[in-house]
Amino acid sequence: MEDGISPPAPGVGKVVSRVHGSTIGQKAVMAVSGILLIAFSFGHMVGHLQMFLGAEKYNAYAHFLQSMGPIKWAIRFGLLGLAGLHIFSAAQLTMRNNAARPIAYANNKWLAASLGAKTMRVSGGIVLFFILYHLLHFTVLLVGTAGFSGENTFPLSQTRLLNGVAVPVFVDNVFQRMVVSFQNPALALGYVAGVGLLSLHLSHGIQSALQTLGALNSTYRPFFKKVGPALAGLLFAGFAVVPLAVLAHVIDLPK
């Protein structure tokens, strides 16, 4: 072929330029970062379901995460990087796609697109603000902190020896912060709405990511068209049940 494109020598620079410089490459970046963020979300959800196990278990879990030191920071920066790549690729592709149809149709009918698909940009944009608020709320402790107890106030039942005397291990009372926050209906319902939009985003995103990575064929695609939204729904249920249980006093502060 006289196209001047030689078979790619698998060099890192060439791979990066080809991924960055092509629509399929940029979409692959979106898909891979999206899938990794989804994987984190499921872990995050399972972690928070431990709210149902009570303050002791939940605070011990939170303490375990906080005690991971450099690993914790690697995961945090990794997640920020993935979110950054996801948003950057989305912005690049969106600008390209808008330019690809300068004159809109006067009459436009949707034949196949799901609600989740049609609202990807809106849901993604709102979820970004939801996550930013969520981080400022529970990680940075800057907003919505009314009623939070201070650091290292919860005594675990495990003890440590101090000068030969067994004293309780005091850890962050994250359980108390969650309960106090979600007893505020505005914060609880805002959270439910946020994870609802995330779920809507993923109802298209999961199957779309797999299709982009070429993982689907005529058998798997119909399967994942059902499984993708089901997984998104599962994620919603797992996240939303915690604030709703707090509102219903199923989860409450220890008396």
């Binding site: 072929m1 196209d3 494109i5 030689s6 078979p7 790619p8 020598a9 698998p10 791979v15 080809r18 991924v19 092509s22 629509t23 399929i24 490459g25 940029q26 979409k27 692959a28 592709l93 390209r96 796609n97 330019a99 690809a100 149809r101 300068p102 004159i103 809109a104 149709y105 006067a106 009459n107 436009n108 009918k109 949707w110 034949l111 196949a112 697109a113 799901s114 698909a117 049609k118 990807m120 298209h204 199957q207 779309s208 299709q211 982009t212 990575l213 070429g214 993982a215 689907l216 064929n217 005529s218 695609r221």
Partner: protein, 250 residues
């Protein structure tokens, strides 16, 4: 049947277009959509008006020349049908029908409803073929190909290059077209030698022409008159990523 047509009229590439309304009275339900437009154009001409330009050729649903977005759907309301094979019996008496050209930056309007689809030709020229040395005709069945693979290749090869996928895609992406042209060779032994180069070169041209990117909505598949499945897009993505990461042609 008596119909009202809202047709996009545009003098040339540079002049902005607009909709104009036409009465189409005494239309037979047995006419094809293009025959209806023929009648309307002929009447316009008799009245000293400029007839509306639209693309057509074989009128048998196999050449890929006819186009038209009819009431928001490329090739109109009937599934798996080109505009030339669409009949007026699919409409009701008194209907208002909005007729627009394919809308994409990569498909500039030349006049009225006629768009320039030569971007597809340029993509094809980058690799939508198998390079062979001429010589004696090979023996029949010298290259064994399974029925399943032959069917997959043939399904992809049924693409007529009409561009309805681009017209239907909200991003004006031509991924279904390119993927069909890539997939038809990816399933055949003759296509293997240039498999990596083909997908890279054709997608490079796709991007250079200003088509959008695929967001996997499936609108293209829904309007394709040849019912080409988006499985070809997944196959092409797989081939493209493999070619990018590790691929050298065998």
């Amino acid at each position: 049947m008596n119909l009202t047509l809202k047709i996009w009229r545009q003098k040339d590439k540079a002049t902005p277009g607009k909709f104009e309304t036409y009465k189409a009275d005494d239309i037979s339900p047995d006419m094809s959509f293009l025959e209806m437009l023929d009648v309307v154009s002929e009447r316009a001409q008799q009245n000293g008006q400029e007839p509306c330009a639209f693309d057509h050729d074989c009128r048998e649903g196999i050449c890929g020349m006819c186009s038209l977005v009819i009431n928001g759907v490329p090739h109109g309301p009937e599934a798996a049908t080109t505009t030339c094979q669409l009949h007026m019996r699919k409409f009701k008496d008194g209907d208002v029908i909005v007729i627009e050209p394919w809308r994409a930056a990569a498909f500039p309007v030349l006049r009225d409803l006629v768009v320039d689809r030569s971007a597809f030709d340029r993509i094809q020229q980058k690799g939508g073929f198998v390079s062979i040395n001429t010589g004696g005709t090979p023996d029949g069945n010298a290259l064994p190909i399974s029925k399943k693979e032959a069917d997959l290749a043939m399904d992809a090869a049924s693409c007529i290059g009409c561009g309805a996928c681009v017209a239907a895609c909200k991003n004006a992406s031509a991924m279904l077209f390119v993927a069909a042209k890539v997939s038809q060779y990816a399933h055949l032994p003759q296509g293997q030698a240039e498999r990596s180069r083909r997908v890279l070169a054709m997608m490079e041209q796709h991007d250079a022409e200003g088509f959008g990117s695929c967001t996997n909505f499936g609108e293209c598949e829904a309007v394709c008159p040849k019912e080409i499945s988006v499985r070809v897009i997944a196959e092409m993505n797989r081939d493209y990523l493999r070619a990018t990461l590790v691929g050298t042609d065998a």
